[in-house]
Symmetry: C2
Subunit: 143 residues, 2 copies
DNA sequence: GTTGAAAATGAAAATCATTCTCTAATAGGG
DNA sequence: CCCTATTAGAGAATGATTTTCATTTTCAAC
């Protein structure tokens, strides 16, 4: 089910030791096809019958974020949602406000625009956040 | 100093009554040229010698948001920052991560891209968040 | 000018995701 | 096995925002 391998992922991180907990977080995260919050992820791991502290889940997600292995978005409540980054660069997503399912969108246009803004304005180290939400076909009430 | 008028703004909201507090929030907000948090705004009002509860400030900002009179961004800590919306439609901003100064950017390209994504994917009611941050010329260390 | 119902206020408490602290557990090299 | 630096995690702390609810205020009607 994994589009990435948990062991491989572990090797990208600087952790000195291999623990049951770190393994569990990565294994479950690899199987997540949608964005999940730290708490949801913790619940999923727990549901698998593995005991891992919430603190550890938060720690690992932050670590993955620092090492650019996850994309992060905020939901409407400001809660942070994580998803393993499928490929090299980051992606942007269109998330259904009803069911939460997301699909990556082609944002080349936007990336180019961001670069241009950086050049035009003289701002350095320009970073961007781009998030799209909508109601997917499945969730749309049948008219 | 106002690019908008507080009284005019008050009329856009559904409030049934005119109070000293509501007036104060709007007056101070009108003079803010940069994004401010609810707490900063509260401090500014207090500094003006007007007593207004923090609760009331939060309430008004939420109201202004519901009625599309403010643009809202989140800083890196996830805190919400508000700014009166200058014109009809919403704007996107390039915010300096060092000093917080922001400038609107021309995002026509992005708006068009968003529309296209909506059409292409079949998602309804597509909404977007686009935020840019960088380091402005003033803040950049002189090399 | 008075009155009163509804609206608005705000102090204090609650919420809740996230971070911090600090002790106990343990991985893993020697 | 031993030792110790690393990791785990329970519980407390944090802090922005929201909720509660008793009190105050507005303003239209009298
Ligand atoms: Mn991008
Ligand atoms: Mn836009
Ligand atoms: Zn959906
Ligand atoms: Zn700056």
């Amino acid at each position: 089910m994994s589009c990435q391998n948990a062991e491989q992922l572990a090797r990208c991180l600087p952790a000195a030791r291999r623990t049951r907990q770190r393994g569990a977080v990565l294994h479950v995260l690899v199987d997540c096809t949608e964005f999940v919050s730290a708490q949801q992820l913790h619940a999923l791991i727990t549901a698998d019958g593995i005991a891992v502290g919430l603190t550890t889940v938060y720690r690992m997600l932050r670590e993955l974020e620092v090492y650019d292995r996850v994309d992060v978005v905020r939901d409407e409540a400001g809660e942070r949602l994580y998803r393993l980054r499928p490929f090299g660069g980051h992606r942007h997503y269109l998330v259904c406000r009803s069911c939460g399912r997301s699909r990556p969108v082609d944002a080349e246009v936007v990336e180019a625009w961001v670069d241009r803004v950086g050049e035009t304005t003289g701002y350095a180290a320009v970073e961007h956040t781009v998030e799209l939400t909508g109601i997917c076909a499945t969730c749309r009430p049948t008219s």
